[in-house]
Amino acid sequence: MSEKHCVASLDNVGLSHDGGANFVLRNVSLTLEQGEFVALLGPSGVGKSTLLRVFMGLMQPTEGTVGGSACTTDAEETGTKRRRRALVFQDARLMPWRSVLKNVEFGLEGLGLTCEEKRARAMDALKLVGLEEAADRWPRRMSGGQRQRVGVARAFTVNPDLLLMDEPFGALDPITRSSLQEELQRIWQQTHKTVLFVTHDIEEALRLATRVVVLAGGPPAGITGEIAITMDERNPESTVFRTYAARLRAMIAGEKDPGGAPYWRSAEI
């Protein structure tokens, strides 16, 4: 395996919302490498979204360090500033007063781009999610699935090194959900972005990710194990898929990994 480039990392990160002793996360170390699709799996309310916000720079860890920055000056893009990380929210979170196109352009504002450049890049991102026809529509007239597509386009348009996704398909109906999963998979294979995808759905994690990291236990919660998965192991009917699912379920419950995988780490602190 060739030397991989680290995109972002957390080193022994702990976080308490009031800065006191009530930690929600503790001793979390996680390194994301170039081109990986990492699913962060865990029960609801365990602190997955919080961890994502630490990566995004929206929250400062109480202890430990975050590697890499969220925004840097980029020589290859004619010296303009570039946002290195982008976030897709669970609720799409579009601005109702902006058209679809203007919503997608949002992340490009304030970087010194011309209107034409912004428009061209936003249109490219809309093409990526198959919504170039909807550029002039208002978000409120769109379905949940379409709105989330716009949210994905908005994140992609800043051309981030790291794409952070906070249960992006959690609020969608199963049919829309699986079509968006497929679409995300296609886009990921096209663009080779590094993705950190938060979910509480084991099957979703196994179908999308190259690596599944489990955040469980606590509070404070920590990483209780991880599984690497190859493309051909993704068939939900296969035995290996079901074995992985069982192992992940055990990690979430904080039990001993029945597979005895080398990645197993103790949950005790």
Binding site: L58, F89, R93, M95, W97, R98, G107, E109, G110, R154
Partner: protein
């Protein structure tokens, strides 16, 4: 549930109401039911208005009042909405001003007239001041609650996409998100402004209010009513024109 009426029916109903109102009024004066010294007959309003126009009083009064009104409206709206937005966004400023706001809020615009005379004199500035104060509070409260009502998740969105600074939040989130509330404050201020014009000119600054006071001291009730209707018309025009701005700004709303 209210039953629905079509647009044209609504207009026809409104017009019918007005005709019945003025017709009944005219009849009441003619039959002596209302003493003509107390209430002018609607038919006398036309000639009274023509007299005012011929003398140039009507045009001048409108120009003077428009001057006070627009200036007071501009100053009161900008300051009121500006301070309301600042208080809505910055908790420290909000806390600092809360006591002062509670103290000054109940004072009606009319109560400021003595100070307006003292500080500015019997002139445009004095009248503008009184109008600005009453418009100020309406916009202050509208802006304050509109900004407080902005979805906090939008601030997180702004921060995630590089607009987390004060001005980033102000221009990318607060102003557009609060625009419905800001617009309704401005609109209420438009009406309140015309009501304050009378109060502002009551003490002798030339304009519609002053002309009404002159007429009423001469018991020229028809002239008073002419100016009452003039003011209603001016309000209708400003509100109508503002409607275009509002529709344009809020076209994203359902």
């Amino acid at each position: 549930m209210r039953d629905k009426v079509s647009f044209s029916t609504k207009w026809a109903l409104g017009l019918t109401g007005l005709i019945v109102f003025f017709g009944g009024w005219e009849a009441a004066v003619r039959t002596g039911l209302l003493p003509s010294g107390m209430v002018p007959a609607p038919s006398s309003l036309g000639p009274a208005w023509l007299d005012e126009v011929r003398g140039g009083f009507w045009q001048q009064a409108i120009l003077d009042s428009l001057h006070h009104y627009l200036l007071g409206l501009l100053i009161g709206s900008v300051l009121g909405a500006g301070l309301g937005i600042l208080c809505g966004m910055v908790a420290v400023v909000d806390g600092l001003l809360e006591g002062i706001v509670r103290l000054l809020r109940p004072v009606p615009g009319l109560a400021w007239v003595p100070f307006a005379i003292l500080w500015f004199g019997l002139n445009t500035s004095g009248a503008t001041f009184v109008i600005a104060i009453s418009v100020f509070w309406i916009n202050f409260y509208a802006a304050h609650s509109a900004v407080r009502g902005v979805d906090p998740e939008l601030y997180e969105l702004a921060a995630a996409f590089g607009h987390g600074s004060f001005f980033g939040r102000l221009f990318k989130v607060v102003l557009p998100a609060a625009s419905p509330g800001l617009m309704s404050g401005l609109r209420t201020g438009l009406g309140q402004g015309w009501m304050s014009v009378v109060a502002a000119e009551l003490f002798g600054v030339p304009g519609i209010g002053a002309r009404m006071m002159q007429a009423s001291s001469l018991l020229a009730t028809d002239v008073v009513v002419v100016y009452m209707l003039t003011m209603a018309l001016l309000y209708a025009v400003t509100d109508f024109l503002f409607g275009f701005v509002r529709t344009r700004v809020l076209r994203w709303q359902p």
